[in-house]
C-alpha cells in the first residue's frame, strides 16, 4: 500500500524490540471483547485509476454543476484566477498544521497577518481575526461576543428580518443553549429594509445586540447607520452581517458607519461553492473589544535576529489555554480558505474589486429593468422588488400568481437553467412568495436574455 511503508520484517523488528510476540501483545489494554476479530466490512480497495473513475462518475451525477445557475442566498458561483489553486495546493501550505512553532511557520503566519489586514480593509474595521468556519458561525459568534460585553440575565438579540433563513435557524438553535432569545427586527413591508422606524418592539428588556444583514435575503442593500443608531439608543452592540463580501467593492463598509462587530461570508472571495463548504467566516471588530474576540489572531513581532516576524497572539482567550472559560470553542481557522481569499483580494487589487462589484450589479440591473418593463406590459401580479441591489434581484409573485414561482423553476430546469431560489416576502397582508435570482461574472448577455425571455413570458 503506497501510503503504508512498514514491511512485514520491519513490523517483526518492532515487535521484537517491544518484547511481544505479536501485535496483540501491544494492545492488551483493549478489553478482548472490544477487539475486532476480523476485518471491517468495507468495499474493496481501489487503485488510483479506479478511484478517479469512481469519483468522477459521482461528480458527473451532479448535473447541476453544468447548468446555467442563478442560485445565491449567500453562496455565489463566482470565478477566480487559476493561480489561486496552483499556489494554495503547494505542499508547504496544504500540509502544514496550525502554526504552533512560529520559527518554522512564518509562511502561514505572514499570510494570516495579511489576511487580517485585507479583511479589516474591506470591512473598514480596526481588527479582523484569522477567520471562523463560515458566515453563519461568524454571526453566531458575534452575538455571543456581544452578550459577553453586555451581561444580562435574560439576554435578547434582535435579528433583522432580512437575514438568510439558514442563518436565522442556526442562530435560534445555537443561542438557545446559552439562554439567548432571538427576536425579529421587522422590515418595513414597503421597502423590505430594516430601519429604526420599522423596529416596533418596545425593547423594555435591554437587548444585547441588533443584527443587520446587507445585502439582505431579498438582495436589497440596507443602511448600516440604522443599526448603529438603534443599538446606540438601546445601549446594545451593533452587528453588521455583510451578506456578500464582494459588495464591499461598491457599498459602504460597516466600519464607516461605526459598527461594533462586522462579519461576513467570504466564500465569494475565490472559494468554490462546493456544495456548501468549506467556506469562510470573516470576523472583525473594534480594538477595544479585542479580549472578547473569538478565534485566532496573528500579531507582528521580531525574531532573535531582529527580523520582522509573526506569531499567534492573545491566545489566552482561546480554548487550549482557557478551556471552558474560553471566548469560543473554535480551535481551527479556515486557513486554506483564508489563504484563497487573501490571494483573491491581492490579485484583484482595489481596481479589480471595484470592477467585479460594479459588473455584477450591472447584470442584476439589466435583468431587473427588462423584467420590470415586461411585467408592467403583461399587467400580471408580478413585480421586481425596488430598491438598491447588488447582484441579486427578487421577483414578488402576488396572491393570484402563487404558482408562478414553481412554474418558472420547472420551465427553467427544462432549459438547463437553475433560475433561482424561492424566498418568502413579508407584506402587510402576510407572507407572499418570491423568486430570488443571483448573477455573477459567469453570466454573459446571452444567458441574461434567455432568462428575461423565460421569466417575462
Amino acid at each position: 500500500m503506497r501510503y503504508l511503508p512498514l514491511s512485514a520484517e520491519e513490523r517483526k523488528e518492532i515487535l521484537d524490540l517491544c518484547g511481544v510476540d505479536d501485535f496483540q501483545g501491544l494492545i492488551q489494554a483493549i478489553p478482548d471483547e472490544l477487539r475486532l476479530k476480523g476485518l471491517l466490512d468495507l468495499p474493496p480497495a481501489l487503485s488510483e485509476p479506479e478511484l478517479m473513475e469512481h469519483l468522477e462518475s459521482l461528480a458527473n451525477k451532479n448535473t447541476g454543476a453544468w447548468m446555467q445557475s442563478h442560485l445565491g442566498q449567500g453562496v455565489y458561483d463566482h470565478t477566480w484566477p487559476s493561480v489561486i489553486d496552483q499556489i494554495t495546493n503547494r505542499g508547504e501550505f496544504l500540509t502544514a498544521y496550525t502554526p504552533y512553532q512560529p520559527e518554522v511557520s512564518q509562511g502561514t503566519l505572514h499570510a494570516i497577518f495579511e489576511f487580517q489586514s485585507v479583511i479589516s480593509e474591506i470591512l473598514g474595521m480596526e481588527i479582523a481575526n484569522a477567520s471562523l468556519y463560515d458566515g453563519a458561525t461568524s454571526v453566531l459568534e458575534a452575538v455571543l461576543m456581544a452578550a459577553r460585553t453586555r451581561p444580562q440575565n435574560n439576554p435578547i438579540v434582535y435579528v433583522a428580518e432580512g437575514i438568510y433563513a439558514n442563518t436565522r435557524k442556526i442562530l435560534e438553535s445555537c443561542l438557545a443553549d446559552q439562554g439567548i432569545e432571538v427576536r425579529t427586527w421587522k422590515a418595513d413591508p414597503q421597502t423590505l429594509t430594516c430601519t429604526q422606524a420599522s423596529f416596533q418592539d418596545s425593547a423594555e428588556e435591554r437587548p444585547v445586540a441588533f443584527v443587520l444583514q446587507s445585502p439582505n435575503r431579498w438582495g436589497l442593500i440596507e443602511d448600516w447607520n440604522e443599526v448603529t443608531a438603534l443599538s446606540e439608543k438601546h445601549n446594545a452592540r451593533s452587528i453588521a452581517y455583510v451578506g456578500h463580501a464582494l459588495s464591499m467593492g461598491l457599498f459602504q463598509s460597516p466600519g464607516n458607519a461605526g459598527i461594533d462587530i462586522a462579519v461576513s461570508e467570504g466564500q465569494s472571495l475565490g472559494i468554490p461553492v462546493g456544495f456548501g463548504g468549506p467556506h469562510l467566516g470573516l470576523f472583525a471588530c473594534k480594538r477595544a473589544d479585542i479580549r472578547q474576540m473569538p478565534g485566532r489572531l496573528v500579531g507582528l513581532t521580531e525574531d532573535a535576529r531582529g527580523q520582522r516576524a509573526f506569531c499567534v497572539t492573545l491566545s489566552t482567550r482561546e480554548q487550549h489555554i482557557r478551556r471552558e472559560k474560553a471566548t469560543s470553542n473554535i480551535c481551527s481557522n479556515q486557513n486554506l480558505m483564508a489563504l484563497r481569499a487573501l490571494m483573491y483580494l491581492t490579485l484583484m487589487g482595489p481596481e479589480g474589486l471595484t470592477r467585479i462589484a460594479r459588473d455584477c450589479r450591472s447584470l442584476a440591473y439589466y435583468v431587473r429593468s427588462a423584467l420590470q418593463k415586461k411585467f408592467v406590459e403583461s399587467k400580471r401580479e408580478l413585480q421586481v422588488l425596488d430598491g438598491e441591489v447588488f447582484n441579486e434581484i427578487t421577483i414578488l409573485a402576488g396572491q393570484k400568481e402563487s404558482l408562478w414561482v414553481d412554474e418558472k423553476i420547472a420551465q427553467a430546469q427544462e432549459l438547463g437553467i437553475l433560475v433561482g431560489l424561492e424566498v418568502e416576502i413579508p407584506k402587510q397582508s402576510g407572507f407572499v412568495r418570491g423568486l430570488n435570482i443571483a448573477f455573477t461574472e459567469r453570466h454573459r448577455k446571452i444567458h441574461l436574455d434567455k432568462l428575461i425571455e423565460l421569466l417575462g413570458a
Binding site: Y3, L4, I14, L17, A29, L34, L39, L42, A45, L51, L55, L58, N62, G64, A65, Q73, D77, I87, G91, T95, A96, Y97, T98, P102, E103, V104, S105, G107, T108, A111, G124, I127, A128, Y133, N166, F251, N256, V273, F275, G276, G299, L300, T301, D303, C311, H320, N329, C331, S332, Q334, G349, P350, L353, T354, R355, S362, E388, L418, L421, E441
Partner: protein, 490 residues
Amino acid sequence: MSNWPLKTSLSVELSRPGHCAHSLPKLEIPEAPPPARNARQKIPHLPELSELEVVRHFTRLSTLNFSIDNGMYPLGSCTMKYNPRVNEATASFRGFTRIHPKTPVQFAQGALELMYQLENLLSEISGFSRVSLQPAAGAQGEYLGIKMIKACLKARGENRKKILIPESAHGTNGASAAMCGYEVVPLKTTAEGLVDFNQVDELTRSGDVAGIMITNPSTLGLFESDILKITKLIHDRGGLVYCDGANMNAMLGITRPGDAGIDCMHFNMHKTFTTPHGGGGPGCGGLGVSKTLIPFLPVPTVEKNPSGADDFVLDDKRPESVGAIKDYYGHFLMMVRAYTYIRELGAEGMQKAGQDAILLANYVRMRLKDHYEVAFDKPCMHEVVISDKRQQKNGIKTLDIAKRIIDEGIHPPTIYFPLIIPGAMMIEPTETESLRAVEKFCQVMIQIAEEAKEENAYEKHFAGRPRHMAYAKVNETLAARQLKLSWKDL
C-alpha cells in the same frame, strides 16, 4: 524550507500603482448607474501587483513553512500523516466544486450519494449507528454531540447540569460543554494514566451528571481499559457518554468506539482520514452516534428515497432534531477527500494503518525510554508522551529541546500538553512514516538528550535555537505587548 537570508516583504510594500492581476470579462451590457445611497466612500487599501509578483510573493511565503511534505511532523494528537494528492484531484472535479448547496436534489445526486456512502463507511469503521457530517471541525462535533446529549436528556424530562471531563482532555472539550450551558467537573487521572473509575462512580451518584467527555485513546496515548465499565456506569446513572475522537487513528480496524457503549464521538477528518491540515483548517468533523441519539441528529440528513426509487433525498422533517448547527451539510469538499482515502485503503489498508501507527509509536517509546522520562512505561497506542524531567536537572527544558529539534529538519512534537505531565512532549509518528524516518527522529532525540547532559549544555547546544533556519526564536511576548494586527498598525 528556506534559509534564504532575504527580507520578506508584505504585499502592500511591493505594491505599485497601476499594477493589476485580475482578468474579468468585458461587460456586454450597459453599466448600471452608481449607487444612489450607501455607496462606498473610500476604496479599500489593497495591494496592486502583477500576477507574477503575486506568485513570487506567495511562493516565497510557502518556503518559510515546515510541512508534512518537508519532513517528519510528529505532533501528538494531531495525526500528521501524509495527505494523499489523489484526494486533491478528486475534490477538484467540477461536479463537486461547482454544485451549489441549494441545487434541487435531482441535479445533485452524486453529492448526496457520496455523503450517504461516507456515512455508511464511517459507521462501519467506528461502530456507530449513524453519522452526521454537518460539523465543520472537531470542536463543532463536540458541541453538536453535547447538544444532542442535552436534547436527549430533555426528552427524558431531565435537566442535568454537569459534564465530567478528564484533566488530560483537549481544551475544546470544556469550551464546547460550556457553549451548551454545562458546568464542567474535572476528573483526576490515576497513577496508571487512566480515568479514575471510582471518582466517576462518586461524582455520578448525585444524579445531576449529564454525561462524560472521554478521550479514547487518551491524550496520554493510552487506551481506557475501563471504558466498558465507565459507559455502563454512566448509562446506569442516567447519563450519556461522549468520546473525543481525535485519536481515532489508533482504533482503525482494531476496535470500534461504538461497540464500547459510547453514545457519540466526533471524527477529525484531517487527522484520521487525511484531509489536508492546511495550516490550521478547514477541518471536517463528522459525529458518530448511537441508536439512542438518532432522533436528535441535526437536519438535514441524507436518506435513500423512501418511495423505493433508486435515488437519495434530504430529510429535514425530523421532529426531535436539534436543528441545524452549520450552514448546509458541512465541509463537503473535505468529505470528498476523506471518502477517496477510505475507498483507497479498504478494510486491510485501514487495519494496517491503525496497527502501523501503534507499532511506530511503540518503537519511539522503546528507543527513547533510556534517554527521556516516559510518562507511562507500558505499551502505548498511536502516540507516546515523554517529558524533560531528566534534562531539567541540567537546566534544559522541553521548549529548549523543541527549538533544538527544528535545526535538524524535524518538526517538534506537541509540547506542554497534556497539562498533567509537566514538560510533556507528545509524539505521534503516524503510519505513513517509514521506519527509517522514525529511526532518524529517534537518533536526533537521543543526540539531544546526550547534549543536554554536557556541562554548559544550554550555552553550547540550546541557546539561540533554531540557528539554521530562516528565522531564529520568535519573540511572542513582544507580539502580545504591541498588538500590531494588520498593516495599518505598522
